[in-house]
Subunit: 378 residues, 2 copies
Amino acid sequence: MLNPVEHMAAPAAARVGDTLADVDTPSLILDLDAFEDNLRMMQALAERHGVALRPHAKAHKCPDIALRQIALGAQGICCQKVTEALPFVAAGVRDIHISNEVVGAPKLALLARLAGSARISVCVDHPSAAQALSAALAQTGATAGVLVEIDVGQKRCGVQRPDEAVALARTLAGLPNLEFLGLQAYHGGLQHKRSIGQRRRGAEKAARQVRRYLRAFQQAGMPCPRVSGGGTGSALFDAAGQVYTEIQAGSYPFMDADYARLDWGDALLLRHSLFLLGTVMSTPTPERAIVDVGLKSTSAESGLPRAVAGKGLHCVAINDEHLILKADHARDRPSLGAKLRLIPGHCDPTFNLHDSLVAMRGDRVEAIWSISARGLSR
Amino acid sequence: MLNPVEHMAAPAAARVGDTLADVDTPSLILDLDAFEDNLRMMQALAERHGVALRPHAKAHKCPDIALRQIALGAQGICCQKVTEALPFVAAGVRDIHISNEVVGAPKLALLARLAGSARISVCVDHPSAAQALSAALAQTGATAGVLVEIDVGQKRCGVQRPDEAVALARTLAGLPNLEFLGLQAYHGGLQHKRSIGQRRRGAEKAARQVRRYLRAFQQAGMPCPRVSGGGTGSALFDAAGQVYTEIQAGSYPFMDADYARLDWGDALLLRHSLFLLGTVMSTPTPERAIVDVGLKSTSAESGLPRAVAGKGLHCVAINDEHLILKADHARDRPSLGAKLRLIPGHCDPTFNLHDSLVAMRGDRVEAIWSISARGLSR
């Protein structure tokens, strides 16, 4: 056989030193200058208000990014799943909050192993989950921190009333290998409200809920040192609101198309740093161009990606492997083989479609980072 | 250090011999009995009408599935991307049609290498793409088959008029290392029309378009032996319509929730074989349950997954890592830790989120198949 394909791996999308024109497509591209500005901006916001920043690594799933966030002053990171934490611990991250409920024996056994190598905390919203967690930790002898998750309006997980939270914290205090740290209060729904006023009012309403819980702990004589939560859309208000002790923002390094539709006023002017690079693979009519980006390389549940080039060019539909662009005039249509930068609709699920991230300094590939937690959803 | 996490891989979701209750979540599950019925049903349809079946491997990205389709009589497979073809060639598939335009030097170089190990064909809709393909093949000395893609109403790729197709076929005939095989005519839009009558009329309209092109080739005295296209939604009509020589259906082994919404009359009664297995991770209210399946384990652009259990339980929202279920009554709400089977909205992008497929025979894990082309989007 001429070509031993049995040993042929898919070629890498890019090599260090390549220019953007050399990068194969579809690829996920990071503009390092904009990315680093965004990292500094959020860290500065947190420091200005004396709260910790604990960036959410579910957004990027990339240890190289987490290490840079920590180097700039972040307290540690959040992960959303136990397996997701694994490559971050392996890369040397030593403080990880799993900002989610963990249910099931294999997951708890892995969490207990990780808790032997790093400071691990996790959310609990049910006494039986607390007991199972304690029992799993007892197997390895490790200890984990616990935040009681409270529902401040998202209507997802979390206890529903202050007395429930206090009772659960008492249960936790009585169980071995657990340390009650405080509360998690996250409101995903308000992160994406367009108007800055709506987000401010939503954040204030959530903060009032948190204060009700804090009063119940005070009345019960139980210390509740940590309140963790907040996101990119509400960080401005969460950091300033004197309720949260740490902010869990995840998307801020990237500024996807969904977040870019928000009104940001004159504060926290994050820059687009994350792009999809696509190639025009067909130009069947003078006004139509088809790009080789699809639902398998960008998520679209928060809207289509947005083409960076020219005002006369619009993404009109996306299929599994095709993005259909319509030009206002023939002169606005890119030619066959042209490469285009696109801003993804939603960064988190888009990172989860790629194994690597091409980190660019200007027009040069500076590094290729592994998205090591891609697909680690258990 | 107690736990050498540097060498800790994420534990496997299941082992052969496990029962469904042992499988960790979220996992992608295949019911082999239903799957094998579906494979036989579509193969029988093709054979009844004397057309070839060339299943689309973009749906599953899994060589173990492709080998079973071929063992039952499929002509070969389709892939949508050049890198996607790589694990199938490595697994021994020797006839692959890349049902898409391929543009860019790295992609063409890989295609030329693959064409040395397997019979490879590809779509072309522009003369300059034909020239670049020929030049890349000349570098390895291999030959590839070419289908001219024609636009039969999808408004995506493909030439727009019969005279364009004939002219492009003439160009192809004059270029070294290329063999003109015929036409590709695919209409994605009509696959998902609900009513069987709409799909029939749509398929007939597309077939009339194809006949216009075939007449132009006849008038030009050029043989056009192959017409490839069709999908799961229109296969009944495409197979019977005497225009297609091969059918490219992809989703038929699985029957996702989107296809299940279609009216199928009394023909081609495909069974659900593909499921997501999720765990109830939070039960914050008597009527609400949160499952550990999200946009990172199932695609939702064609609708939410559907819970198999009980009529009183509904998927109402999905986030990156959470699926929110609402029960009509407290008695319909599953309990904390319960495992649920869900039917994914759209199989293709869902397969692309998983590295492995848990193949079940009844309640037992019979095999774990690698979704080897997961993420191969270039």
